[in-house]
Symmetry: C2
Subunit: 171 residues, 2 copies
C-alpha cells in the first residue's frame, strides 16, 4: 500500500507536468474533429475509387456548378481555401479539362474560372459517391442525432467563420 501511494499514477504525474497534454486524445474535441475529417475523406476516396477526385475538388466543382463563371478569388472564399491552395486546385482541374480559365477582360490580373461540359459530366459522375460518403460519415447516428450534430456543426462554423485563415463569405 505504501508503494502504491508514494509513486504517482501516470495520470497524476502527467497532470503535474502538463494538464491538457495528459488528457486522452479521445476527450479532445480538436483531435476528434481532425480524425472525423480524415474518416470522411477516406470514405469519399473509397466511394470515388478510380475517379481520382478529392473532397476539395468536388467542392470546387460544385461551387462552379452553382455560381457559374466566377473570379478565382471568389471561388477561394466560397470553398474556404487560401490563395495558394485554390491555384493548385484550379491548375489540376484545368489540366484535366474540367474547368476553363481566362483572364478577366476588365481586370487583367484576375482570372475567371468556369466549369466545362466535361467538368459537369465528371461532377455528375462523382455526385452519388459524394452523397454516399456524406451519409456514411454520420451513419452511426440516429436520424435525430444526425440532425443535432449537423446543426451544432453549422453553428460552430457560422459563428466562428471569421477566425479561419480563409473565411467564407456567409449570407
Amino acid at each position: 500500500m505504501r508503494r502504491t501511494r508514494s509513486i504517482p499514477t501516470r495520470k497524476e504525474s502527467s497532470a503535474a507536468a502538463a494538464h491538457f497534454a495528459a488528457e486522452p486524445l479521445m476527450d479532445r474535441v480538436g483531435f476528434l474533429i481532425r480524425r472525423l475529417h480524415q474518416i470522411h475523406v477516406a470514405l469519399f476516396v473509397q466511394q470515388a475509387d478510380g475517379m481520382d477526385i478529392t473532397t476539395i475538388q468536388f467542392t470546387a466543382l460544385s461551387v462552379l456548378h452553382q455560381l457559374g463563371e466566377i473570379d478565382q478569388s471568389v471561388l477561394a472564399v466560397q470553398v474556404g481555401m487560401d490563395r495558394t491552395n485554390v491555384s493548385e486546385v484550379v491548375r489540376r482541374l484545368a489540366s484535366r479539362g474540367y474547368v476553363k480559365v481566362r483572364i478577366n477582360p476588365t481586370h487583367g490580373r484576375r482570372r475567371l474560372i468556369a466549369l466545362t461540359s466535361a467538368g459537369l459530366a465528371f461532377l455528375k459522375k462523382a455526385d452519388d459517391c459524394a452523397r454516399i460518403a456524406h451519409d456514411r460519415t454520420i451513419a452511426p447516428l440516429s436520424p435525430l442525432e444526425r440532425q443535432i450534430f449537423a446543426d451544432l456543426l453549422r453553428r460552430l462554423v457560422r459563428e466562428q467563420n471569421s477566425l479561419g485563415r480563409a473565411p467564407l463569405r456567409l449570407k
Copy 2:
C-alpha cells in the same frame, strides 16, 4: 409569370444536373467538418503565436508524454498519421531537440521515439494554448451542447475508426 415558370430556377437546374452538388455547402456535413478543423487549427496557431507548433506536433508530443518511449509506428497509430507524415513530424521535432530517436536494439529497422526534457518544457509551454484553442473551438455552444457535440463526435470517430487510412488502436 410565364417566363418564371418556363425558366428553371437555379436550384431546379442544379438538381437536374447533379443532386448533391446542388446542396449548399453549409448543409454538407463533410464540408462543415473540414471547415471546423480549419478553424480549430487557426485558433491553435493564433494562441501559440510565435511558438512555431502545429496541432499535430502538440498531439504527438502529448502522446510521447503519456506513453514514454515508443516505436515510431505506435506513435503513428496513436495519433492517426500515416507512415510518411509521422516520419516528417518526428524529423521536425527531432531537429528542434524535442524528441530523440534511436534504432530499436532488438529490431534494427525500427525506430524508438522519446520526449526529451526540452520537449517536455516545450509541451508545458504549449499546454495552455492548446486548452484555450480547444475551449474556443466550441465556445459558441452552451455547456450542455458542448457535451452533446463531443459525445456525438466521439461516437462517430470510435465507430468508424477502422475506415480511416491510419486507424487508431482504440481500447
